[in-house]
């Protein structure tokens, strides 16, 4: 049964965008925590730890996100022994994915702090952890905010791939609406506009923060 594309469909698409944002938020929290570990591994003074961090980043960034989604979707049940929902598979896959990129971004920010700052901390008798916590991180956070906001845009866009494992977010809702109304052009334009409305302000914010940071330096 084909029905007309109506205003109510736009409303449903807007409602579905909530799940895009929810998945992004979950992946950002999960990816952020794991990403912090990755960044710390990457700047660790201990070479094997650095290698583990680098290996993780290369592994995640060398495989398409679709691959990760399917590996987790079909692999988690093997490990857990029970069927997992698209929610869990998507959250786990996107968290591991985000961790690699956030870890890499934050490593760059930690390394952007001049080496003398570490040395100054060391000469005050601070250990590695204390140097990091009291000297490096407070300075690195300011550098980290603009690219992190920029990555958030990538994450919002990439959650669209959650649709392929049946996670109902904006893109999947668009596919369902299209199946019911058969107005692909209208439907996907509306979907694109909603994504743009979510991403563009963040892109602008990221840019403005970066400009402000450059002026401050």
């Amino acid at each position: 049964m084909i029905r007309e594309f109506a205003l109510i469909d736009v409303y449903y698409l807007l409602l579905a965008a909530r799940w895009t944002l929810a998945l992004t938020a979950l992946a950002f929290v999960g990816g952020g925590l794991l990403g912090l570990v990755v960044a710390l591994l990457r700047v660790s003074p201990f070479a094997p730890l650095r290698a583990i961090g680098a290996g993780y980043v290369n592994l995640v960034q060398g495989i398409p996100l679709l691959g990760w989604l399917f590996v987790f979707f079909f692999g988690l049940p093997i490990v857990a022994g029970v069927q997992v929902s698209a929610w869990i598979a998507a959250t786990v896959a996107f968290s591991f994915y985000a961790a690699a990129f956030l870890g890499e971004i934050w490593r760059g920010c930690l390394q952007a702090i001049p080496r003398q700052q570490w040395e100054a901390g060391a000469s005050l008798g601070l250990g590695f952890g204390e140097q990091l916590r009291h000297v490096i991180v407070p300075q690195a956070v300011r550098v980290a905010i603009p690219p992190t906001v920029g990555f958030l845009v990538q994450l919002i866009k990439n959650t669209s791939l959650g649709a392929v494992i049946g996670f109902v977010e904006l893109t999947r809702e668009g596919q369902l609406t299209n199946a019911a109304t058969y107005r692909p052009f209208t439907v996907y334009i509306v979907v694109a506009v909603i994504y743009f409305a979510m991403c563009f302000p963040l892109t602008q914010l990221s840019r403005r923060l970066e400009r402000r940071l450059r002026v401050a330096r």
């Binding site: 960034q61 093997i78 669209s160 563009f200």
Partner: protein, 220 residues
């Protein structure tokens, strides 16, 4: 964990997988060439063009960079037929991917072009080089050298992103995986194998780009 892994059914499909790899490589390479061309023209227009053209290119870049690739792909493949333009899956994929990569390439190349000092361009003119010659030797080549790492890592990301075209049934490696999945019901195994293949392809591209860098910019 009582699951028994079975890769035998997948090795039986090697020829089919190789076909998929071929399509992915072809699609990625064609997109890189097209994307680079769009990038060079777009960046030149964005930096040196008249005001209206700059605005137009900036708008294109913003729209593409703030919407997901899969939605762009759906618009080209499912949306365009309602405007009377019917494309097969592979052509639609190439067009959508090129439009997508083009936007990123413009942003990257623009940074490279803006890094060329104006005085250097004037010096080129003083030496009697023509406009196109200045653009090629004084502007473009050094600009590409500056942004080469950013551009090539974007290319590698693009190669991985081509997997999305499987969603409109273009016969790439990822689509081959979904067909093998439905033939063998070895869900996890096939996606694990295909993921490792992509990892190898990504490494191969990175190595290739490093070699190309040495060839093009090495002895200077």
């Amino acid at each position: 964990m009582k699951y028994t892994f079975n890769f035998r059914d997948i090795w039986a499909q090697t020829d089919f997988i190789l076909e998929g790899i071929g399509v992915t490589l072809l699609l990625s390479s064609a997109t890189m060439v097209a994307g680079l061309a769009i990038g060079i023209l777009g960046a030149a227009a964005r930096v040196y063009g008249p005001g209206w053209l700059r605005g137009l290119v900036a708008g294109y870049v913003e729209v593409i960079r703030n919407t997901p690739l899969i939605v762009q792909l759906f618009l080209v493949f499912f949306g365009l037929p309602s405007a009377g333009i019917r494309l097969d899956a592979l052509t639609a994929s190439l067009i959508a991917l090129a439009i997508n990569l083009g936007a990123y390439a413009i942003e990257i190349l623009r940074a490279g072009l803006e890094a060329i000092p104006r005085t250097q361009i004037e010096a080129g003119h003083c030496l009697g080089l023509s406009g196109p010659q200045v653009f090629r030797h004084v502007v473009l080549f050094p600009a590409i050298r500056t942004i080469y790492p950013a551009l090539t890592s974007q290319f590698v990301l693009l190669m991985l992103a081509t997997s999305v075209v499987s969603q409109i049934s273009a016969p790439d490696l990822f689509h081959v995986a979904s067909i093998i999945q439905s033939r063998t019901f070895r869900d996890f195994e096939i996606y694990a194998v295909v993921s490792v293949i992509y990892l190898a392809l990504a490494l191969a591209f990175k190595l290739g780009f490093a070699l190309l860098h040495r060839l093009a910019f090495g002895r200077r």
